[in-house]
């Protein structure tokens, strides 16, 4: 019989046991009677000889090995009965827990998807990422993306890994359908097979196709396939036009495929890229290299192999590869600062859950004290101490599990809305799913919180002295629980202080940052990237003419005040950093100080509302054939020229040619990195140079990154459609992308701060509320227990204010301890915030003091209510109660 059968048939087994023992006793009795004993006595002796039928039965039941289950079942039924008896209490507990467990599980779900899950490729643990490393670090560090020739050499020489290259491109797809800017990438032929991805329909690239001169072929995304080809099978073999080049579609990628965290619409072959820079080992387009360990190979072997290849290349190409090695790392998703945001929020929700548990524990202690008599009776009836502890724990674990189930339901409901509220966009959002890990987490957290808030009262309850409890009834035992409850309340307050001070710090940081001037007038400015028609980009003269035409057309639109072009926009992703020097005696390149460089057209200052401090800005006379000029900002002026007059001086900028640049003006500093991150940014100095002076050679590359900035009379988004129509008349395949207002860009730089502030503020509010409920509940309970004592005191001459003081003194003690411990913890939290949230300044007493004051105020208010009630006790009723 299995234990399960034994459990199911336990009643039948019990009957058989009765019968078996009955038979034994009867046989024995008969034998004793035949030996001459009187039947009654014989029976008595037989029962003794067998060892006491009831005890023997218990031992036999124990021998079945199902005892714990039967007890558990009994405990569960008892727990449910107790819960049903006090539905109000149970509801408070379950809702608190549902909130706490739900929000903790929600944050875990996000953490799990974004940080813990590997890439969704085949055996991701064997995937590697390769980088170049130089012996000397420059201003940009010592790690570099691969050059294409280095990748080719590594790929052909290395034995322990299969490697593949890819790079982001992007451009205008003009056929079929409306012209559209799409994200694309160039990959080497083996890239998809290394990831373990194969096209959903059609085929993968072949290595014969991955070279210059082969027929142009492309893989498209599922979304592009549906958008442009109506999801038809005959898309395979169809042609599309991308950046002026025709490609034959050979395959469609699976809908779920994402390259790192991007949905890429088009893939072409990197070997078919014939731009001369692809062959360069210096100043090359940056190539990402991913690799997969071959069967049986180890990372160490790959490392030593790459070291050999690197030194061979260094000998072969000393100019570019001297001191250059290759670095191998496991391939991991890059999630930016989302990780620290998530950990901060996770910490905060855990604090809220802890506060909730402590609150429930103190409620349970109060209840356990009034149930002391029940417990004592059960002990007297033979319940073991362990059995009682288990009973109490079962009760709290049942409550916790109900809370956990509700909390998990909450996660199902709130997960998607929560992700959509994430500032910017949550990286790897599509990986955030409710899976078995989430369930395991929810169950573990529920069990642990159940044990946590159950353990305190459970371990205390049977420790009472039996006889005292039985005699004193429900009124007893207050002395012991008073200290315990004070500890619980104090720790609850301490945790609340941590959350409140964190919210205060975030709030004051947010206020301070919001008040900062970004340096540009963000109202009514539209910024959009614009890709020129692929047909003009090969001819520099036509590029210049086209841009001029676009500016003229845009300026002519009604509601437009001024229009300018700019390559790098403040507070938007992307920047250009160049080294500069104040004399022709240039130090080595790696020691040049850096400045942000933006190429702009003359109206840029008007559009952005940047103040001119000295000299002049560019005008139409600054052209290719005139003297090269730049305008610098105050920061660069101070760094390069100190307090002396900057206008008329010169700067040597090697990346812009050997001739010096004439400084013709100084403008106000723009917080390029946003209000939060500009001050700590490594590169803050800025200069501007005229787009008209970008040399022909670079003009095509520059054209790809230029944006149009428009200052409008009214809401700037209203200008998008007229602008689109106005420029379309020039050529049908010009497209606007990344359409933003400057207000949006400015707001986005504080989005993370706002998000953290709102959530942690809400958690702090919850914590404060819970703590107040806790302190109120405990004081009310303790005062009720002390009513007879108050009665005696009042009968002996104490007046109501004495009683008030008596109760308040108790709560002030708890508050003092809680605030002291909490402040120490909050001090540590402040350092954590300083490290993880930009703009947080250490040692600002205002948020600290104000938040602690709020907490003390709220806690005192919560204590005054029960204290006043106690002080109004009528001595007559109080004594009568005794």
């Amino acid at each position: 019989m299995t234990w399960w059968q034994r459990l199911r048939h336990r009643q039948k087994l019990d009957r058989q046991l009765d019968k078996e023992l009955g038979f034994h006793i009867e046989e024995h009795t008969a034998r004793l009677v035949s030996d001459g004993l009187e039947p009654g006595e014989a029976r008595r002796q037989a029962r003794i000889a067998v060892g006491g039928p009831e005890q023997v039965k218990e031992s036999c039941r124990d021998a079945r090995g199902t005892r714990w289950l039967e007890d558990l079942w009994q405990d569960l039924r008892y727990a449910l009965r107790t819960i049903r008896q006090q539905p109000g209490f149970a509801a408070v507990v379950v809702l608190t827990l549902a909130w706490g467990i739900g929000s903790t599980t929600l944050m875990f779900t996000v953490l799990n998807g974004v940080l813990f899950k590997p890439f969704p490729y085949r055996s991701p643990e064997r995937l590697l990422s390769l980088q170049e490393k130089t012996a000397k670090a420059t201003q940009f560090g010592d790690l570099w993306a691969f050059s294409y020739p280095n990748f080719l050499d590594v790929r052909s020489a290395v034995r322990s890994i299969d490697s593949a290259a890819w790079r982001h491109t992007g451009g205008t797809m003009s056929q079929p359908g409306e012209a559209e800017y799409i994200l694309s990438c160039e990959i080497s032929a083996e890239f998809l097979s290394i990831l373990g991805i194969s096209p959903m329909i059609g085929r993968d690239f072949t290595s014969q196709e991955d070279q210059a001169g082969a027929a142009p072929v492309a893989l498209i995304s599922d979304s592009l396939w549906k958008r442009k080809f109506g999801g038809r099978e005959d898309a395979i073999g169809a042609t599309l036009t991308f950046n002026g080049q025709q490609y034959a579609v050979v395959g469609v990628l699976p809908a779920s495929f994402r390259l790192a965290d991007d949905s890429v619409d088009l893939m072409t072959l990197i070997g078919q890229n014939t731009q001369p820079v692809m062959k360069a080992r210096e100043s090359h387009p940056r190539i990402a290299v991913w690799a997969r360990l071959r069967e049986g190979a180890t990372v160490e072997r790959a490392r030593s192999e790459l070291a050999v290849i690197a030194s061979r290349l260094a000998a072969e190409y000393p100019r570019s590869n001297e001191g250059r090695t290759f670095i191998v790392d496991p391939l991991r998703p890059n999630t930016g600062d989302a990780g620290s945001t998530m950990w901060l929020l996770f910490g905060a929700v855990i604090l809220v859950l802890l506060i909730g548990c402590v609150n429930i524990a103190s409620l349970l202690v109060a209840r356990a004290s009034s149930r002391g008599r029940e417990m004592a009776v059960r002990v007297a009836l033979g319940a073991g101490r362990g059995r009682l502890v288990r009973q109490c724990l079962t009760e709290s674990v049942v409550l916790a599990l109900i809370g956990g189930v509700l909390g998990t339901l909450l996660v199902f409901l709130t997960l998607r809305p929560f992700i959509s509220l994430w500032p910017g966009s949550l990286p790897r959002a599509q990986e955030v799913q409710i899976d078995w890990r989430v369930f395991a987490f929810a169950v573990t957290v529920s069990l642990m919180s159940g044990l946590l808030f159950g353990a305190v009262p459970a371990l205390r309850a049977p420790a009472q002295e039996l006889e005292r409890s039985l005699r004193a009834g429900s009124r007893a035992l207050v002395g012991g629980s008073r200290r315990l409850q004070s500890i619980l309340i104090a720790s609850e307050l301490a945790l609340a202080v941590v959350l409140l001070v964190s919210a205060g710090i975030l709030g004051s940081t947010f206020l301070r940052l919001s008040a900062l001037d970004p340096g540009v007038e963000t109202r009514n400015v539209l910024v959009t990237r614009l890709a020129l028609s692929p047909s003009v980009v090969t001819d520099p003269a036509r590029i210049r003419a086209d841009w001029q035409d676009i500016l003229d057309r845009a300026r002519a639109l009604p509601g437009v005040r001024s229009v300018a072009m700019v390559d790098t926009v403040p507070m938007r992703e992307g920047n250009n950093q160049l080294g500069y020097w104040t004399s022709s005696a240039l130090p080595p390149r790696t020691e040049l100080p850096l400045s942000l460089a933006s190429s702009v057209t003359p109206d840029y200052l008007d559009v952005m509302g940047i103040e001119l401090r000295a000299g002049r800005f560019f005008d139409v006379n600054d052209r290719m054939d005139s003297q090269p000029v730049i305008v610098i900002d105050e920061v660069l002026a101070r760094r390069a020229f100190g307090d002396s007059w900057a206008v008329g001086r010169q700067l040597w900028i090697p990346d812009m040619g050997p001739a010096p640049q004439q400084v013709i003006g100084v403008v106000a500093h723009v917080r390029y990195w946003g209000v939060a991150d500009d001050d700590p940014a490594q590169v803050r100095a800025q200069f501007y140079y005229p787009f008209a002076q970008v040399p022909d050679l670079l003009l095509r590359r520059w054209s790809e990154v230029m944006s149009v900035a428009v200052r409008t009379e009214n809401a700037p988004l209203g200008i998008v459609e007229p602008l689109r129509r106005a420029i379309r008349t020039t050529a049908r395949d010009q497209v606007l992308t990344e359409i933003r207002t400057m207000d949006q860009l400015a707001e986005a730089t504080l989005a993370r701060h706002r998000f953290l502030l709102v959530l942690i503020g809400a958690f702090a509010g919850t914590a404060l509320l819970l703590a107040c409920i806790g302190i109120y509940g405990v004081l009310a309970f303790l005062s009720r227990q002390r009513v007879p004592e108050f009665g005696v005191r009042m009968a002996l001459g104490a007046d109501p204010s004495d009683i008030l003081r008596l109760v308040l003194r108790q709560s002030i003690g708890m508050i003092a301890v809680g605030v002291t411990v909490g402040s120490l913890l909050a001090y540590g939290t402040e350092h954590l915030l300083e490290r993880w949230v930009s703009g947080v300044q250490l040692g600002d007493p205002v948020p600290f003091v104000s938040m602690v004051a709020i907490l003390i105020g709220a806690a005192l208010t919560a204590s005054v209510i029960p204290a006043r009630k106690a002080s109004m006790t009528s001595p007559v009723t109080a004594l009568r109660q005794e």
């Binding site: 034994r6 078996e20 038979f23 034994h24 009867e26 067998v50 060892g51 031992s59 036999c60 090995g65």
Partner: protein, 114 residues
């Protein structure tokens, strides 16, 4: 009369198996047989027989059927299973090894004193 010693740990199971090995037998008969074979020298702890029987049954060393006795009453008869027989042989052997070893040690130490 010498004082009866307690049954060493684990030997009750061995004795029960040995008794049941003689053929199907009910609990009362086992109790009587136990008393006989142990010749009143060792004492099974009171009330430990039935728990031991049930334990052995649950471990699959014994199985049981309900049958009528000669007196016409229904009783639970225990039998040794195949597993029980193997266990009995193994335990008997190890018990013998143990007693030999113990007596060997006892003799040795006396020899050493001389």
């Amino acid at each position: 009369m010498t004082a009866k010693s307690d049954l060493p740990q684990g030997t009750l199971d061995l004795l029960i198996l040995k008794i049941v090995a003689g053929g199907p037998v009910h609990g009362y008969a086992i109790a009587q047989r136990l008393q006989q074979v142990s010749r009143d020298v060792v004492q099974a702890p009171q009330g430990s027989l039935y728990p031991a029987l049930h334990r052995l049954e649950n471990r699959g060393l014994l199985d049981a059927v309900w049958k009528e006795t000669e007196s016409g009453r229904e009783a639970k008869f225990y039998r040794l299973t195949k597993k029980g027989r193997i266990q009995l042989e193994a335990e008997t052997a190890s018990w013998q090894r143990l007693t030999e070893a113990v007596s060997l040690i006892l003799n040795l130490s006396e020899g050493g004193l001389r």
